[in-house]
Structure formats: structure tokens, C-alpha cells
Amino acid sequence: AQTVTQSQPEMSVQEAETVTLSCTYDTSESNYYLFWYKQPPSRQMILVIRQEAYKQQNATENRFSVNFQKAAKSFSLKISDSQLGDTAMYFCAPNTGANSKLTFGKGITLSVRP
């Protein structure tokens, strides 16, 4: 079975600072997609960012960007200018199987301090 590793269970960052959440995974595929999801206390899972593995350029969505290292099978999320509303659990989820099935990491709880 595919494995996804988020090695940091919890992180804390000061408001307005930058934080990086790490994720590694295993796959034998060459073409696939990777996602980061955010789950705030409201429990609603929200898509943060999407990366296509065949694109060398790292994806960016406003304050969120990724560092995708295909050879190392690493997919980290960088949050710039952290805001209190970024406090949430974050899940890394690559899709390397058929039919868009995602495998999720165990998640990391991010707390943004005022």
C-alpha cells in the first residue's frame, strides 16, 4: 500500500511569519498529482493547493506554495505571512493510483500564535 509520511505531528508559528510543513511519499508512478488539504476546527476539509508531478514549476496559491522534489518524493507546503485563520490540521494527499483515489498522511496540527 502507498505510504504518506508527515513526520511533524504539531507545529506552531507566530502570526506573520513563514512556516513549512513537510511530507514524503512513495510511488513507482511517473505521472501523478499531489494535494494539500486544510481542516480547520469547523471540520470542513478544504483544498489548499494542487501540484501536477510532470510540471517542474512549483504550484503557488496566494500565500501558499509548495516545494516539490520529485526524485526525493517530497512535497512540502510553505505558508507565508501566517494568519490566525491558518490554524488547522493539514493533510498531504498524493494520488498515484487509478480513478483519482487519494492516500492521506496522518496530518499535522498547525497553531498560529497572535
Binding site: 498529482y33 488539504y37 470542513q44 483544498l47 483519482s100 487519494l102 492521506f104
Partner: protein, 114 residues
């Protein structure tokens, strides 16, 4: 606004009861998924479906079954609820179209079995 709707936000059931968790999506998505979320374990796939009347086992199908009689509706059934099925249950859907744009999630059902 596109939606995945789970019928109950909170549910309390007794051991041995048959429990139905309902999920409806209005996006005409082909794929639907049921996950359970437990602290420290992330999201684990129970069952998924690629089409009406189709179903596939995920990583932890024991004690569960599913039904997909219509494209928009995917039901999770606990045949005889047990206390170890106390968990958060998340439904998601996705398109089989070109590219992979990840899942749209419901807001979750927190099930307690007493």
C-alpha cells in the same frame, strides 16, 4: 455553490444497531469515497465507488458495507455498530474527467456508538 452533503453532523447509536450514513453530491461526479478519521491515524479509506452500483473495498472495509443506487448518493452502512466504530466519517466525491482536481468533501459525521 457545489456541495457534498452528509445527512447528520452528529449521531449517537447503540451497540448492535444498524446504522446508515448518507452522502449526496450535486456535482455529477463519478467517484465517491467514504473515509474515517481518527486522531493520530489520519484519514483511512473504507469504501469507494466509481459508478452507480459499483463498489470497491478500501483499506479498512471490515464491519462496513456501502450502497450506490443513484449517481449522486453513496451510503455507508454499519451492519452491527460496535464501540470501535466510534469515529468521524467523511464522504468525498471527485470527477473522472481529464486531470485530477482532488476531492470535494462533506462536513463530516461524528458517530458515537455506546
Amino acid at each position: 455553490d457545489v456541495k457534498v452533503t452528509q445527512s447528520s453532523r452528529y449521531l449517537v447509536k447503540r451497540t448492535g444497531e444498524k446504522v446508515f450514513l448518507e452522502c449526496v453530491q450535486d456535482m455529477d461526479h463519478e467517484n465517491m469515497f467514504w473515509y474515517r478519521q481518527d486522531p493520530g491515524l489520519g484519514l483511512r479509506l473504507i469504501y469507494f465507488s466509481y459508478d452507480v452500483k459499483m463498489k470497491e473495498k478500501g483499506d479498512i472495509p471490515e464491519g462496513y458495507s456501502v450502497s450506490r443506487e443513484k449517481k449522486e448518493r453513496f451510503s455507508l452502512i454499519l451492519e452491527s455498530a460496535s464501540t470501535n466504530q466510534t469515529s468521524m466519517y467523511l464522504c468525498a466525491s471527485s470527477s473522472s474527467g481529464q486531470g485530477n482536481y482532488g476531492y470535494t468533501f462533506g462536513s463530516g459525521t461524528r458517530l458515537t456508538v455506546v
